[in-house]
Symmetry: C2
């Protein structure tokens, strides 16, 4: 990222993945996401006694990981309530003492915990809170940037926008194209090693932060930008709009979960039809890129069997006249979607 030193989180890799004393894999989604999508950045894992979850990476203490070249220990587990339990403190202090940065995406800030703040100041190491936006973010200029951009948008939150952007970027890279995944949320930032959590930015600067995420690039270069929220979510639409305006996408992919009917966390709100999302995204997005258009649809069919998934994918593609695929299932459908994104 061109402006990374000024205004974006740039993370010291490789990582030691901290698993706490977790016994449920669901709480370690961040660690598994890093292993799956940023394996080259993951050196080892560190779990406390009692933990039963493992990423399969070698176990190392913070001291050993530091000696092996680790740059940071990443808190790869979510905890109920988002707090840092006392049982984690010795391991976090050991990591600081070993010279590792600590990276977290929790609501509570590491820097607000005096014991950690003092230890990090003494040792001269970084506490990196990904939900704390970098300083000095600008107001958006609206200036058209060079290079090409694709944004993933959604019919709702939490249905595959990050996964889709990662899969498209990787798929295009595998074809030898010059594509970069751009992260706009905490887990995405850990995977990419840089980025800005747009939802944590002050509203006046949110579009400006989105502009920084995908700087000027070579004419053929494609930034594949992780979307957030949904223009149809009554709480998060401003974040989605900031990403849409600031990203200036040439193309967007609508992410949808067939069968999901209610918008997450807001009783009374229905998931909109994909058609409505396409229409609203074009209507709002053409402000900063009049040529914006929909490249296709990404369907999260994880809850369906293979046959039902194939049927909903082909029905969606036929109905919209656009490529549709489940990136996790891959196959020819996904190759068609990649064709439309290239």
């Amino acid at each position: 990222m061109a402006d990374a030193s000024v205004a974006a989180h740039l993370l010291p890799a490789p990582y030691l993945l901290f698993l706490g004393d977790t016994t449920e894999a669901g709480f370690a989604k961040t660690a598994f996401g890093l292993r799956d999508w940023a394996g080259d950045k993951c050196l080892a894992e560190h779990a406390l006694p009692g933990a039963t979850v493992s990423t399969g990476l070698p176990a190392m203490t913070p001291r050993k990981a530091a000696a092996a070249g680790a740059g940071a220990m990443v808190i790869g587990v979510a905890n109920q309530g988002g707090v840092v339990p006392n049982s984690w403190m010795p391991a976090l202090l050991e990591a600081i003492d070993a010279g590792l940065a600590l990276i977290a995406g929790m609501h509570v800030r590491l820097a607000d915990l005096p014991e950690l703040a003092e230890a990090a100041a003494r040792r001269g190491t970084q506490l990196i809170d990904l939900r704390t936006p970098p300083a000095g973010l600008p107001i958006a200029s609206g200036r058209k940037r060079s290079g090409r951009r694709l944004l993933t948008v959604g019919t709702d939150c939490a249905l595959g926008k990050k996964y889709t952007a990662l899969a498209i970027a990787r798929g295009l890279q595998a074809r030898g194209l010059d594509a970069t995944f751009r992260a706009s949320g905490q887990t995405g930032i850990m995977i990419a090693g840089e980025g800005i959590a747009i939802d944590a930015v002050i509203a006046d600067f949110a579009a400006g932060a989105a502009e920084l995420l995908s700087p000027d690039a070579a004419p053929d270069h494609l930034d594949v930008i992780e979307g957030q929220g949904s223009l149809f979510h009554p709480a998060y639409a401003p974040v989605s709009l900031a990403l849409l305006h600031g990203s200036q996408p040439d193309l967007f992919v609508v992410c949808h979960q067939p069968g999901r009917e209610a918008i997450l966390g807001t009783p009374g709100y229905r998931v909109p039809p994909i058609e409505a999302v396409i229409e609203m995204t074009v209507a709002a997005g053409r402000l900063t890129n009049p040529a914006i258009r929909c490249a296709g649809v990404s369907l999260n069919t994880g809850a369906l069997g293979a046959q039902a998934a194939a049927r909903v994918i082909s029905e969606t593609a036929d109905r919209l006249g656009l490529p549709a695929a489940d990136p996790i299932r891959g196959g020819e459908r996904f190759e068609h979607l990649l064709d439309a994104c290239a």
Copy 2:
């Protein structure tokens, strides 16, 4: 505001208006706005030697104003660069010492100036930075609230959304209707005595803050909510969308300045036609209020002569088939607009 004690700025009145050593009336717009729109909250003014600007209110020192019942000294002047000049410090410290709260809407925070922070802590008085959002803002719920709401929206920034909302609220109050002005920006908050600067809220919470601004009310009550920015401004649209979704307006009034062609501060962006703003506001606003509709148009014709203003107002009304008026010029046209808002 129902939740004011938890989550909105609630300002101690009456005010002593601080004018600094200002010699240009343009820098004292906040003080003049308060005198014009919140005269009942303004007790006196305090200017430093050398100042040539006056609001016409009686001059009082902070000590005298405190003895006369003032609750706060409001910094009613903007300063180049938004800093607090050293020449102001004795007066600000005198106000704290007299037991007055200090209220400011500058980018620099009073609480970040150690001399003021220490004095206020010692004396037990408040430093109120209106660009610092209150703590504990919620994520928007999207829940439909009781009562009626009107939002002012704009073809651009800084063309009369606050003024229009104030004029409509006052006009309806003068007719005996139960209407309340709701402030979403710093000057509006000083005038109303409460509110939240939505543009200073973290993007994830901006729609939630807008929900708090206009709480449940009696069925006939009308909240007239000050809009911010424009859905067509590449930097501020997320703030506008947060206000639109969170306000759930039944009605909106489009504010426009005839003759303004370029969007403020963003070269290459044209001010959209009023028709486009109506269309986009309905398209986005119906998410949280499917019954949303445009009540009319407020035109800022301050740069035009009386005849040219009358012509553009009547042409706009005819073209759109909606009431149009310049609230500053008032008259029958404005009464028609009020009819449509009642």
